[in-house]
Subunit: 672 residues, 2 copies
Amino acid sequence: MDYENECSCSKGRWIWYPGDFEIYHGMLQNFSREEREFFWPAYWQIDGCRKNVHFQKTYLIEANTQCTVFANCQGYVCINGQKHKFQDQIRIVPGMVKVEVFAGSPDLVPAILVQGEVIYTGAGWMADDFITEPVNAGWNERYRESEQNPAIWEYEEQTIKPVMVAEKNGGTLYDFGTELTAELDVKVLSKTEKGIHKLICYGESQEEAMDTINCYYSETIESLEICLRRRAFRYVFIPETGSEDCILCARHLYVDIPVKAAFYCEDKQINQIWETSVRTFQLCSGIFFIDGVKRDRWIWSGDAYQSYFVNPYVFFDEEINKRTILALRGNDPVRQHINTIVDYSMYWVLGIGKHYEMTADREFLEMIYPRMVTMMEFLESQLDENGFLVGRKNDWIFIDWAEIDKDGPVCAEQMLLAACYHAMNFAAELLGDPNHEYELKYRRLISSINAFYWDVEKQAYIDSYTSGKRHVSRHANIFAILFEIADEKRTTQICRHVLQNEKVPQITTPYFKFYELEVMCLLGKQEEVLKKIRAYWGGMLTQGAVTFWEEYDPAKENGKEYEMYGDPYGKSLCHAWAASPIYLLGRYYIGLKPTSTGYETFEISPNIKMFREISCRLPVKNGSVYVEWRENQLRIETDRDGGSLTYCGNTYPLYKGKAVMIKNNSCETEKE
Amino acid sequence: MDYENECSCSKGRWIWYPGDFEIYHGMLQNFSREEREFFWPAYWQIDGCRKNVHFQKTYLIEANTQCTVFANCQGYVCINGQKHKFQDQIRIVPGMVKVEVFAGSPDLVPAILVQGEVIYTGAGWMADDFITEPVNAGWNERYRESEQNPAIWEYEEQTIKPVMVAEKNGGTLYDFGTELTAELDVKVLSKTEKGIHKLICYGESQEEAMDTINCYYSETIESLEICLRRRAFRYVFIPETGSEDCILCARHLYVDIPVKAAFYCEDKQINQIWETSVRTFQLCSGIFFIDGVKRDRWIWSGDAYQSYFVNPYVFFDEEINKRTILALRGNDPVRQHINTIVDYSMYWVLGIGKHYEMTADREFLEMIYPRMVTMMEFLESQLDENGFLVGRKNDWIFIDWAEIDKDGPVCAEQMLLAACYHAMNFAAELLGDPNHEYELKYRRLISSINAFYWDVEKQAYIDSYTSGKRHVSRHANIFAILFEIADEKRTTQICRHVLQNEKVPQITTPYFKFYELEVMCLLGKQEEVLKKIRAYWGGMLTQGAVTFWEEYDPAKENGKEYEMYGDPYGKSLCHAWAASPIYLLGRYYIGLKPTSTGYETFEISPNIKMFREISCRLPVKNGSVYVEWRENQLRIETDRDGGSLTYCGNTYPLYKGKAVMIKNNSCETEKE
C-alpha cells in the first residue's frame, strides 16, 4: 500500500490571517439584513478583512518530499526564494526550506492550504499582513479539503415540507410548523394565461404572511421553478393561488451545533419553555450569535454577551464564541465603539472573560489579548478627570431602553468599566503582561464609583451625580450586585430600596430582564423567578409561540402583538436573548457553575425544591453532568472528574461515572 | 416638449466616499500584476475602500417633485425618515426634505446616483462612513448614467491587427507593430486530431515571445475562440502553428487622455525620442500612473512623482494626478510607508505640491489636506533627537539603487523631509490652518542638515554623519540643488566637486537620472543634456525600441538587453520614468514653466540655440502655447493671457492670440 500518497491529502488545513475569516463572514452577516425588498447593511462602520497576506514556515527537510499549495485567491508560492504556481506539485530537496505563500484577493478572505506529507499547513504556520509581526495563522476545523473555499460557509441542510397547506382569502397558506432560516423552492404547476406571476409572502406569524402589503419579506416570482434566498419564516402565503397550484419546499440552512443539554420536569409548561428556548437559541446561533433570525440578523455585542452565558448550558460550543468575538472586534485600530455603543465595547471585553471562564483557552486569549489592550486604550482615551468613562461626542451610551439619567458620566457605564479592568487584570496576570495597571485602575474606579454614585439617603446607586436629580434606576444597582461592586450590606439595601421597591420603574426589556432575573436568583429568589418565567415565557407559549420573541407584553391587544419599532411586523419572533431560561434553569436551579476556569473544577448546588421531579443533563467542558430529582431524592452523575455537589450545606465530591445519591434529605427540615 | 422629463436623466452623477473610488481601483491595479501564469499582488498592505457609506443632502422643496436612486450595491433610501427602495420613483412633497442613502457592498466600492429634476446627486451631497464627519462626496465626470457601475472602469477600446505575420521556428510570430495593453482574441481555424491545444506566448520583444519557456506571459488555450485577459505585449508567438492556422486580433484597452503637446525639430532622432516618450507615457498612464505596463503594473509613489512632472507637458490631465494621489495614500490611519519606502511617503506629499502648482485646485487640496497632515504625523513619529527622519525598524530607506551610506539618518531623506515641510507650509498657509509649525520645522531642519551633512573639506553634502565615512554620492547633492537647500556658492561647489567629478560614482538608474538631468538643465547645461538624451534614448531607438525601457545599458551584450532582476525578460520595455525627455524638452529647452500656481501666470524662456528649427505646442492650464524657431527667428503664440516670454534678458508679455516674433536676435552676440 502506498501509505504516503494515501494519507497526504488529509494533512493540512486552510489558514488565513487570524481573525480575518471571522471578520469576513461577520461582514457578510452584517450585510444580510433584508426588509421589504431591500437590503439594510448595518449602520456602523463594517470592517473588512485584509486584502493580502504573507504566510510562512521554515522546515528542516531530511528527505525528498513534495507539496501542493491551494488558494482561494491570487498569489504564488516562494520556496527558498524560487517562485511556484498554486496547485503545482512542488518537489523539495533536503535542507533548510523556507516556504512562503503570498496570497491576496480584492474581495474574499485570502486563504491557503498546503498539502504534503511533511510540508503542510498546520502548527507553526505564521501569517503577517506586511505590517504586523508574524502571528500564528488562523484556521477552522471545518476547512481541510482542497475543494473548499473558506470564503464560503458550508451550511448544513435540512429539507422541510409544509405541515399544513390551506386555502385562505383566495390564496394558499403554507405552515412549516416551526421557524426556519431557509431557502424556499417554489414550483409553479399551473400557469395562467398571463404567464407566471406569483407573490410569495413570508411570515413569522400567520398574520404576517397573510398581510401581503406589510409582511417583512415578499418576492414576486416570474418563473416555473425558483429557489428564493435564505429568509426566516414559519409561514408562506401566496395570494390568488389554489392549494394545488404550487409546491413549496424549504431548505433549512443551519450551522449544526449539537445540543448537549436536556431538561425534563413534571411541569409541561417549563419543559416547553426549555424546548422552545433551545429551539430559539439554535436558530440564532449560526456562524455567529446574532440577535434574531428575521431581524436584525446582525451581530450585536450586548446580545452576544448574553449568548455567552447560555452557550455553556446547552451547546458548550467554544467555536461560536470565538467567531463572534473576533467578528465583533474587527481590525485595529479601534475607530468606533462596537455597534456604535459604548457599553457594547465593554461587553466585548467582558465576553472574552466569560469565554475564558468557560474554556480556559489560553491560545485564544493570547491571540486576542493585544486587541483587548487596544480596545481598553480606546476606552481609556474617553475618560474624564475622575477616571469615569464619558465616551466621545455622539457616542451612544445605551445601557437599556429605559429612563436613565444620562447627564454626565453614567453610573452603569462605570460599573462595566470596572468589570473590564477586573477582566483585563485577570488576563494580563495570566499571560504575564509585565507593566499593566489594571488592578490599580480597578480599585481606583471602584472607590470613585462608591464615592460619587452611592446615595446614602436613597440607599442605592444613582445614575448621574452631575444632574443633581439623584435618579435611581434598577440598572446600575443590578450591575452593582452582578459585578460584586456592592458589599453585603449595600446589596441588602439595594434589594430593599431598589429591586423590591415598586416605585423604581420596572425593567421593560427582556434584554435587561436577563440581568435582573440573574440577580434575583443570586439572591435566592428562585421561586419568584420561576413565577416570572411561567408568566412571561409561558405567556408567549399561550399565544402560540414556537420560538421566543424579542419582547412580550401580555397587555398588548390582539393584532398588535407583532408590532415593534412602529412596524406592524417589526418584532422578531425568534430572538436570542429570549432564550435565557436555559441559563437560569441550568445555572440557578440545577446550580451548575465552573469553580475554576475551563471547568477544571465545577460545582452543582441544586435549588430545585419547587419541582417534584427533574431529569436534566448539562454539558461541562469535555463532559456532562446528569441530575435526577424525584421523590425528594437527588442523584448526580458525571462522566468527568472535578465536580462537586453542594447540597444542604454539605459538599460531596463527584467522581467520573460514580453517581452520588442523597436519599434522606434533611435540608427540607432545616429550611422549615 | 416635456422638458422636465427630457433632461432629468442627465442630472445627477455617481457619488461615493471621497477617495474610495480611487482606493478601490488602485487596489485592483495593485492586484493586476501577472507573471508566468500566476498573479502577484503587491507586497505591501493593500488598502480597501469603505464597505458602507451614508450619503445625505437636505433640500427645501417648493413644488412636488420626484427622484430615483440607483446604486451599485445594497441599501436603501431614507426620505425624512421614510424608507424607500433603490430604483423606485419616489414622490416628494414640498417642505424641508432630508434625503439620506445608506449604501454598502461586501466587495465593490459603494456608489449611488440620484436622478431627479431638483433632487439629484450634485454639489452639496455629503458622505460619511459612520465614523467621520460628513465630507463632500467624491465623483468622477465619467460616471453619470444609471446603467454604469463605478466599480467597473470603462476603458476605451481600439482593435489592432498584426502588422506582420511570419512563420518562424515551426511556429508563427505576430507583430502588432507597437506595445499594447490588450485583450487578445484568438480564433483557431485548423483543429488537429488531438483537439485544440495552442500555447500563446507573448513578448515585449520578439526574443521574448519566441522563448516559449521563459516568456513572461503565456497561456495554453483549448477552445476554438477565446478572448485572453489584458496583457502588455507587442509580439505573440504560437509554436507548432502555421500562419494560416489562427487569426489574432488585439483589443487594446486604454484610458483616453488626449495628448496636447507636439514637438518637431530638424533632428529626426530627437523627434522620434519625443514621439516614443509620448507613446511610452501614454501606455503607462491608465487609471493611474503606473511604473510599467508589463511589470510591475503597480502604483509606485516614486515613479508617479516623476509622472507628475511629465504630465503638464503632454496631457495636462488633472484627473490622473488626483486618482494616483488618492490611490497611493489609501485610508487613515497611516500604518506603513507608501510602497513600504520612507522616501516614497514623502514623494506623495511633494506630489500634491506639484499637483497644486499645476492646477491650483483648492478643492482637491482641501480634501486631501487632512490626509497630508496625518502622513506628516506618521513621518514625524519617526524622527530622532535632531529632528532627522530615521524610519522604523525594517522601514525601507531607498533613495536609489546606488552606493549610498545608509548608516544612521540619511542626508537625502532629510532633504525630502525639508521639502515636505516646505510644501506643507504652503498648503497650511493657503488653507488657513491656524496652528501649524511647518515653516519653523522647515527652517530648523534646513539648519540641521547644513550643520550635520555639509562637509567643508569635500565641498559636498555627505550621505551619513554617523558612520564617519563621509561618503559623497550624487543623490543628496542633486536634491540640495533641486530643493534649493544649497545656496549659490554651495551649488557651484557641488557642481564642481560632485556633479562634474568623475570620481563620484555615476547615477545608473533612469529613475535618478531624471533628477540629475534636471539639475544639469537648471545649471544651464542643455547642450550636454541633449547629448546624453541622444546617447541614452537614441541608443534604445537604435536597438529597435518602440517604447522606452526601464533601464538601458549600451554595453549589454546582445541577448542580454532584456534581462533585469535576474530574469531574462524581467526588464520592462515600456516604463513611465523613461518618458522624461518630454519634461526636459518642454521645461528646459522650450522653457515653459508656471510662475504662479495653476499657470495663472507662466513663462517661456527658450534655450534652443542647439536646434535649427523647432515647431512645438505645449499645454498650459486651459490653453496652450505654440513655439516656432526657424532661421534664428522665434515666434510665440498663446491662446490664453498670463504668459510672458523671457529671451536674451528681455521679457515680453504674451497676449491671447497675439503672436510675439523676435526677428533680430542679439542674444547670440551677447552670449559670445
